[in-house]
């Protein structure tokens, strides 16, 4: 893993896998190549297995300061592209979610899902099915939870194209999710607004995960390893809807009928 990474107008220092003294020497060398480039910015630091001793921290701080860089947040987990980005987009008062090894690869293997879509197309079926709610299961289902479970990422504001939120837990967006945006959650996804981008709920294989939106017009919906593309028409979602997996396929029902849905 390379030691330094420019990110936007700032800097990331990745110490994982580096002997600390070698890393400091390398950092000094790299910064002296472009001494003024990062002046006035902040550097975030991610550590490897070892935490930093106080004198190491001080050494790091002073090397950065001599290049005009302020020492920023220090994270202990091994960074992922997604994790770094998620951190950048996170609202200030969220508690730190430590990801386990399995949680780090949030994007499931879709080979099976694509073969599934291809099969469906051969049979002439579409990927997304409108549920006939009247004929849905008749057994009583527990009412929807009111309090959100722990580990939910809240994002207030519109997400613009090219932005991504990846989270081990649920994601709630209060705002719109524009096309070209990616939401990946191990749990549920809830959008209080228009969902126009790509949403992947149950990213680690939870088939019971759901996607809720006031206007469910996602470019592509994924739950666990199921993928759905609405090929019939570009959706004109006129009421809040929820998407879930039933019989191995993604189904969408109006929100008002959600209580009748199993799982």
């Amino acid at each position: 893993m390379s030691l330094l990474r420019g990110r936007g107008l700032g800097l990331e220092v990745h110490l994982a896998g580096w002997d600390f003294d070698t890393a400091i020497a390398e950092l000094i060398a790299r910064l002296s190549e472009r001494p003024e480039f990062y002046r006035g910015t902040t550097a975030s630091v991610t550590l490897g297995e070892q935490p930093l001793a106080p004198e190491q921290l001080e050494a790091l701080r002073s090397v950065l300061a001599s290049a005009g860089i302020e020492l920023g947040p220090i994270a202990e987990t091994l960074p992922d592209q997604e994790l770094a980005r998620r951190r950048a987009l996170r609202p200030k008062n969220e508690t730190d979610a430590k990801l386990s090894d399995s949680a780090r690869s949030l994007v499931a293997d879709f080979a099976g899902a694509r073969a599934d879509i291809a099969e469906r197309r051969k049979r002439g079926e579409t990927s997304v099915r409108r549920a006939n709610v009247a004929a849905a299961a008749t057994h009583v289902v527990a009412p929807l939870q009111v309090a959100p479970p722990p580990g939910t990422l809240y994002h207030v504001g519109t997400l613009r194209g090219g932005q991504a939120l990846h989270h081990a837990g649920n994601i709630v967006v209060i705002g719109d999710v524009n096309p070209g945006t990616e939401l990946v959650a191990t749990g549920d996804i809830v959008v209080f607004g228009r969902l126009l981008g790509v949403a992947h709920a149950g990213a680690q294989g939870d088939n019971d995960a759901k996607v809720y939106a006031l206007h469910l017009q996602a470019t592509q919906l994924r739950i666990a390893t199921c993928i759905a593309v609405d090929e019939e028409r570009s959706r004109d979602a006129s009421e809040p809807e929820v998407a879930f997996v039933r019989d191995g396929r993604i189904t969408i029902v109006p929100f008002s009928k959600a209580a009748e849905v199993p799982g």
């Binding site: 592209q81 994007v107 932005q163 096309p179 470019t219």
Partner: protein
């Protein structure tokens, strides 16, 4: 034998690289060639939009480069053609997510199973441009007959020359009436300035905007004059000596003006 690897570039943005890549690729596929289109514009991907394939993106160029999936899993076959597939760019990443070496390797791999690999180059001459060109053995330079576009194309021609890439020119968005009134440079003027072999002349056509918005390449329309023109360009790429057709500027300006060439 491996397929030809051609980058479609321009320097100036908005002159029609993506539209040309899509339509030329489609025209070649219609002629029975196996075509792979690669979108090299990481972060600002549009090739998938212009072909209406956005909803089917599961994996992208960066994920192939990072080894998270195979190339064949990322390729999206366009159902409307026998043998046209696209490798989409990533949207939530930056152009530094892939190196020239990685890109070249992916293009080379794509070329093993295709007759043509067309690379849609981003605007500009920065890292994204360098990556795109790294994958190519030939170039098509697209320009409009406007001074700024020609100046930028000239810069690009210089850079391609440095790399020894054979190149040919497409003049896009020609408005013959404006050439007649002296308000626009003629194709001859453009060729004289840029001094590279002409591959095609494409007149300005209001229909194109609508087709790209809807994701339906204009070559699908048997009545579209532009479809015929892209087909001629495809034939010239194949080595056929197709004359540039002339058409009379009738209608609004009457028969006062003689035949103007396009095609």
């Amino acid at each position: 034998m491996a397929g030809r690897r051609i980058v479609v570039t321009s320097g100036k943005g908005g002159v029609g690289k993506t539209t040309t890549t899509a339509n030329l690729g489609a025209a070649l596929a219609k002629r029975g060639m196996r075509v792979v289109l690669v979108d090299a514009d990481i972060g600002l991907r549009n090739l998938d939009l212009v072909l209406g394939l956005e909803k089917r993106i599961v994996f992208d160029l960066v994920e192939v480069a990072e080894g998270r999936c195979q190339l064949r899993q990322a390729l999206i076959k366009d159902k409307r053609f026998e043998s046209l597939a696209i490798l989409p760019a990533a949207q939530t990443r930056d152009k530094d997510a892939i190196t020239e070496t990685q890109f070249e390797a992916i293009v080379a791999q794509a070329a093993e199973q295709a007759d043509y690999v067309l690379i849609d180059c981003p605007a500009g001459i920065e890292g994204g441009f360098r990556n795109a060109v790294a994958g190519a053995k030939e170039a098509i330079v697209v320009t409009t007959p406007e001074v700024s576009a020609i100046r930028d194309a000239d810069r690009v021609v210089g850079k391609l020359n440095d790399r020894g890439l054979p190149m040919r020119l497409i003049v896009n968005r020609l408005r013959p009436e404006m050439v007649r009134t002296g308000d626009m440079l003629s194709v001859e003027d453009v060729c004289e300035i840029l001094a590279i072999e002409l591959l095609g002349i494409i007149p300005d056509d209001a229909e194109v905007i609508d087709t790209t918005n809807r994701g339906e390449p204009i070559v699908l329309d048997p009545n579209a004059r532009l479809g015929v023109i892209y087909d001629k360009i495809a034939r010239r790429l194949e080595g056929e000596m197709v004359p540039f057709t002339s058409f009379d500027a009738q209608g609004f300006f009457g028969k006062l003006f003689g035949a103007l060439k396009a095609g």
